[in-house]
Symmetry: C2
Subunit: 548 residues, 2 copies
């Protein structure tokens, strides 16, 4: 009798877990085999009742197949989610990749109504593509107020730098996303915007008092909860003035007292990934899962060992350390959320649609992607035509194995080469560019003679910390200007780096900024900067490759 | 009446053309938009009767969907082919990527029977995966005898360096491939093995007299034709002693007189890609198509402008410059070949198979991939364990945007890093490694102190010419040995470079060679070289990521 009960309990507890899988079909295709379950484990866990899967990597065509397979393995409703804050194309090739949310915030400064309309379309674009690929839950929007320009992990993912902008834009986004029938997620409660360390690597602390948190961090969360967000994700951040002992994601004071009782949120609360070092460094895996659940979390994202997490929670429930009522509450919320997405048709495309290659991206998605870039880029001066045959096109990226926005035929490589530049690609694994000299850091003899056209792809990226902050770009700009060897500058990504460099930039230097890094951003920035469309001496075919 | 006839003629002529498309579904996903047709053009041409499509890029899951779509667009039987000489995984992620054919030739030297058995399995593996993905024609085997070690385009793609080995192995390969029901292709007639320029870039000339050609180049083609190959591909190579005026692919003396009349081949003759510079540089596109057809070619691969090619051939037929009988012959051969593959079931996987992730690669395919690497690699000495914290892992590749065999988690990067090395990735777009010094070419101050573990990924690659021949690796080896700073050497790819470097290599230096470059080659070489399995001080998880 007890045994039977225990096996039923195990099945119910399994429903709390969201595990990670590759969007690719084959084990050999996994990009991160350390974190992505093998198919045999995935299949077993789904049979045992695991509550959901978060997917990373692959193409939209593969994702569609993959979600079908996962549904069939599970044999009952489950959550299928992805971290597609910037469009399906951010994670799944073939989907639309939009300029990051902070681009919309920049538009909001000049034209709030336009920005709000764009944010709603942004959500709608993601929702429609997610649904077509068989997902039923989108882990967006980020509701953190990006107070700290040095924030290595939120940064361009935020919808603004002040609580009002973030509230307006995330509510609009949420409206557009919800309209497609998928579940939405406000993250990272109670706010991850004022941190300077990456919670993937360490546990950040935010020391603000409650009054400040009420005035800034909580504002967008309250707004979006009031306007109807389905789920909230908790942050792995320590707020000593809310709970001096536990990070938000493991803190009953934060999740239950603040979020549930005071703010009144009654949807699902999911933790941020439990494998992140902010938690993993300090807590035994099973303990972290039990603590999060005990604190009030409904869903546990990516526990390091799913079987261990289930066992530990079952034990805590059976021993009465966590009341059974906690489980009932959670299962009730889960059922309600799944009921809401029951109507989504997972067998998406008709064969007809497939044949017409309408597939994932529709015409208005492409228009939106282009509009966002056009409205958020800045162009200062144009590159004069001339003989540039010995000039350097220096392209800086974080990494190249692989680089999601750059290939041999990318505009950032091809277009300057058409204009006579020679590309040098600089990245973490390359030969260093610099020597230890505060004023003349760039080692010039590592390049050919002539001027430098700099293209800096820089943004805070999870896991990479603030890699670029160690790079002396400011001094390099000064050095090249002093030598009259700066031909131009483009920053793709961080508005903070752009502002910093722009302050020392000679006003005659051709320069540009775009918050987006993808091909669409490169093509728009460079066409405009080089006047490609007007200059008949640039080969038209190069540009047509990208524009048609 | 004439109009009706002309439109029928156009449809028949269209059947001669093979056009190129991406394996991805969306126009925006094309890797080479210059060469890969947009879906609207592809759809129109297929409706107009285009005879076949050659596919490049994407994953096997996408390819399966793509071939279904193309069949539906065409509404009648057509050729669906790919250049998967080294396995589906060479072009389509998710398929098996096998060590290059020359690896089997190396095994043949020691154990001919084993090599012949491997070659048959090799063909079978490709045939079964091609069929599952919906292809009906595999453009392999390469029957060229790789006489010239400096051959930039054949090289490791060849099944040997002497006519007998090539004959035995390609016949065995052809048998294994045919057994899966797909069409096979012997290329590049009458032989591309003794060239030193890349026909993708220039027109090569082979000046040998007929006696020598009979003794070497023709041998494997005669053998494979006798044993039953379905199609032959002609080379863009000038053989003055066969035809002093036209390259083989446009030469009636070569295709009709030599191949048809003398050798007696009665299957389909397809040209190599007509967009290649060897042809494109010298002939107007329409002329090249007409000349190839007039010379006796049945199928025209990748004409630069399909509509122009059709028009020009129609005109030549209507004006009597090419007899109508030429077209009848070709259509007859085409019908026969398509009838042979009619039985291949394009609706491949059952949903059940998909769910079990059996998909494309079966167990014996994986075993074959592992066997080929194991049997063809060489290991000289092992790397002694020690404190290597300041040593350099210098990885040389042709290009990184993208690099098909390397990512952040590849064994060639991760395993040496586990052992304390720091990776520097060197490629065409990076900061140069060398200065102009014959004896000490490597600029040491561009690296950190300590020794160098060199991993050279080098093989002739189409379009890249002999890039690596300009790189002074021999002098670098001598320089580093002189300084006692050479920690080890691995060559992945070219046996010729390996032999050359090996001659100056101090016999105590740990070194290894593998003809393959993919993960499987990296893991086997490095596990063995570093004794990873035996040494408990290396973290087991790293290696398990790749082996399980």
């Amino acid at each position: 009798m007890i045994a039977l009960k225990e096996s039923d309990l195990r099945k119910d507890v399994a429903k709390l877990l969201i595990v990670r899988a590759s969007g690719h079909a084959l084990d050999s295709q996994r990009q991160y085999p350390k974190w992505e379950l093998k198919n045999c484990d995935l299949k077993r866990l789904l049979k045992e009742g695991i509550g959901g899967v978060i997917l990373f990597g692959g193409t939209t065509i593969e994702l569609e197949q993959r979600t079908k397979t996962l549904r069939a393995w599970a044999e009952k409703p489950l959550f299928l989610c992805a971290d597609v804050e910037e469009g399906l194309g951010q994670r799944f090739q073939g989907g639309t990749w939009l300029a990051p949310p902070l681009a919309v915030a920049q538009i909001h400064r000049k034209d709030p109504e336009k920005a709000i309309a764009l944010a709603e379309k942004y959500g709608n674009c993601i929702g429609s593509q997610a649904r077509l690929c068989g997902l039923n839950w989108v882990l967006a929007p980020v509701c953190d107020v990006n107070i700290n320009p040095k924030n290595p992990v939120i940064n361009l993912r935020a919808w603004g730098e002040d609580p009002l902008t973030v509230s307006e834009l995330t509510c609009a986004f949420n409206k557009g996303l919800s309209a497609q029938g998928v579940l939405t997620c406000a993250k990272h409660f109670p706010g991850h915007g004022d941190t300077s360390v990456d919670s993937h690597l360490e546990l950040p602390t935010i020391n603000h008092d409650l009054q400040r948190l009420e005035e800034v961090e909580f504002v967008p969360f309250k707004a979006i909860i009031a306007s109807g967000v389905d789920t909230v994700m908790s942050a792995h951040v320590l707020f000593p003035n809310i709970d001096p002992n536990q990070p938000a994601s493991l803190s009953s004071k934060t999740i239950t007292k603040l979020l549930r009782d005071e703010i009144g949120f009654d949807g699902l609360l999911v933790t941020d990934a439990l494998v992140m070092e902010a938690i993993h460094n300090f807590y035994n895996d099973a303990d972290a899962a039990v603590m999060a659940f005990a604190a009030g979390a409904d869903l546990l994202m990516m526990p390091a060992d799913p079987d261990e997490a289930i066992d530990a929670i079952c034990k805590a429930l059976l021993m009465g350390r966590i009341p059974m009522q906690r489980l009932q509450e959670t299962l009730h919320r889960r059922k309600k959320a799944l009921a809401k997405v029951e109507g989504l048709n997972p067998s998406l495309f008709s064969q007809e649609e497939k044949m017409d290659s309408l597939l994932i991206e529709c015409r208005q998605d492409r228009v939106l992607a282009e509009d966002l870039i056009r409205n958020s880029m800045e162009i200062h001066h144009h590159v004069p035509p001339g003989d540039l045959s010995s000039d350097n096109n220096l392209v800086r990226v974080d990494g190249v194995l692989p680089c999601p926005f750059l290939n041999n035929l990318s505009p950032a490589v091809c277009l300057p080469e058409e204009a006579g530049y020679r590309t040098t690609l600089c990245h973490e694994m390359g030969i260093p560019l610099w020597r230890d000299d505060l004023y003349e850091p760039l080692v010039l003899d590592r390049f050919q003679g002539g001027a430098f056209f700099l293209q800096l792809f820089v943004r805070g990226n999870p896991f990479r910390g603030s890699l670029f902050e160690k790079e002396p770009w400011l001094a390099t700009i000064r050095q090249l200007q002093g030598l009259k060897r700066l031909a131009g500058l483009v920053v793709y990504g961080s508005p903070y780096l752009w502002n910093e460099l722009n302050e020392v930039l000679d006003s005659t230097i051709p320069s540009a900024y775009s918050p987006g890094q993808m091909h669409e951003a490169q093509i728009q920035v460079l066409s405009s900067l080089f006047h490609f469309y007007e200059a008949p001496d640039f080969k038209a075919h190069t540009i047509h490759q990208f524009t048609d």
